[in-house]
């Protein structure tokens, strides 16, 4: 279980996360939704220890990762896997070496078995016989799947997905959705997904949380979010151009131009 309490982060004067609270139950997929630039990426990068927040705590099974030294942090990071928005494959290495990276680095698998293990991980994301290809030769959807294979290679029990379906065509997006669901079912991983793709959110989520102005303003099951009474959440999930979120910025625009 991941428990995030009073998490705050500001870049200069811009407050991105403001006393944020979120509980991520074990073995479930929690989807964090929110507009572009609302700090969704900052949130999961804090959870992984890539960004150090200004205040708060992030407890992984009771251990606060923000109080850890570098050694402990490296150990706890082995429990994490992360799929990046642009897949972030190492473009100087072929697909096989990308997927095998953590296995080699942490010496989890003897060198002779690496290819087999990598092939098995790739087959879990529906790919085969592409170990010798370079990342530049892959399509966007394939890159994401290779990124996913790399993230699950060291068998983490927590997976973080940064906009897994952004930039993919609807069919490939659904392939990724199915993969996320099947990984949760077969590996039993706890996951946090950030997205603004509502179709994907409804499909993969056990729990949806809406991030707005640095706070989680509502948490609920997908059907609860769909029929929410909170006007801000309703505007976002229904994708309307007019509502409390945009009204506020219009007011702001009027205020500035006065």
């Amino acid at each position: 279980m991941i428990a995030i309490r009073d998490l705050s982060k500001a870049f200069g004067k811009k407050v991105v996360l403001d006393d944020l609270e979120l509980t991520v139950p074990r073995g479930k997929n929690t989807v964090v939704i929110g507009g572009s630039g609302t700090g969704k990426s900052v949130l999961i990068k804090c959870a992984m220890g890539l960004i150090r927040p200004d205040a708060g705590e992030i407890r992984i099974d009771g251990q606060d990762i923000l109080r850890m030294d570098e050694q402990e942090l490296v150990r706890i990071r082995r429990r994490f896997g992360m799929l990046f928005q642009g897949a972030a494959l190492f473009d100087s290495m072929d697909v096989g070496d990308n997927v095998a990276f953590a296995l080699r680095r942490l010496k989890m698998v003897p060198e002779g078995h690496i290819r087999e293990v990598v092939e098995e991980k790739l087959s879990m994301v529906g790919l085969r016989d592409i170990q010798r290809l370079m990342p530049a030769e892959l399509s966007g959807g394939m890159k994401k799947r290779v990124g996913l294979a790399r993230a699950i290679a060291s068998e983490p029990d927590i997976l973080l997905y940064d906009e897994p379906t952004t930039g993919l065509d609807p069919i490939m997006a659904d392939v990724i959705n199915d993969l996320i669901i099947s990984l949760r079912e077969t590996l039993g991983v706890t996951s946090i997904t950030i997205t603004h793709d509502m179709a994907s959110a409804y499909k993969i989520a056990d729990q949806i949380a809406m991030l707005y102005k640095g706070k989680i303003i509502e948490v609920g099951r997908p059907e609860e979010i769909r029929t929410t009474s909170n006007p801000v959440v309703a505007q976002f999930v229904q994708g309307r151009a007019h509502g409390p979120i945009t009204d506020e910025s219009e007011e702001f625009v009027r205020f500035v131009s006065r």
Binding site: K45, M48, L50, G81, F84, A88, F90, R105
Partner: protein, 266 residues
Amino acid sequence: MTDSTAKKNGALRLAELLGERVHAMVLDLGAIFTLFLQVVSSAVRPPSEFRNIVKQMEEVGIRSMPVVLVTATFTGMVLALQSYSGFQRFGATSFVGSVVALSITRELGPVFAGLMVSGRVGASMAAELGTMKVTEQIDALITLATNPVKYLVVPRVVAATIVLPILVVFADLLGIIGGYFVSVYLMGANPYVYMSKTYQYLEFKDIYTGLIKASVFGMLIALISCHHGFVAQGGAEGVGRATTRAVVASSMMVLISDYFMTSFMF
């Protein structure tokens, strides 16, 4: 009235701008020193980066060899040409060999190799690491339980520190040969006298101090370029900016550190 306030504002802004620049420079120097400490502390920890170091030595050393050698040869040649016509005025042309040998080994070999490597290797390190930074590949390394300083910076710094002196050995040799050819075949110097003058005043110290300098240049170039790559942000434009900064900063650092090392060592 308005004129004087405008002037004051102008002067103030200039002071402000200067202050900002100096502040940024001090921050950079601090960050580079911190990076150096991280490199030292992570280099000794397992796993060993031996394979990556060898790969970087090839990149920094073998691929830079042609450009360094051409530079050194022509430097030796032009040095012989210039000192020959200068020394002719007071009839000291027999010392051309000594001047060429001393200037090349003590100063020009290491410095020109350093500058060429700054341009070639510094740019490629900053661009590669900068691209990795803006495409989140460096974050990806961290998520795969790998320390990016250890995996990316240590091999580059170690390789550059080892390889630059080796490059300079060849640069020294070719610089002296270049000077010899110009003096003997173009200026008609006596080959025997030229060679004996080359040896006569050249001490072992001249060569090894040049190599120590080269080693420090290599380390500085790699550290500075990796630092600028690591802090790159904002897509292709940011990578371009990081690359420019890396080349300018490491070239300047080569020249500045050269002065101080020379004043300490001789």
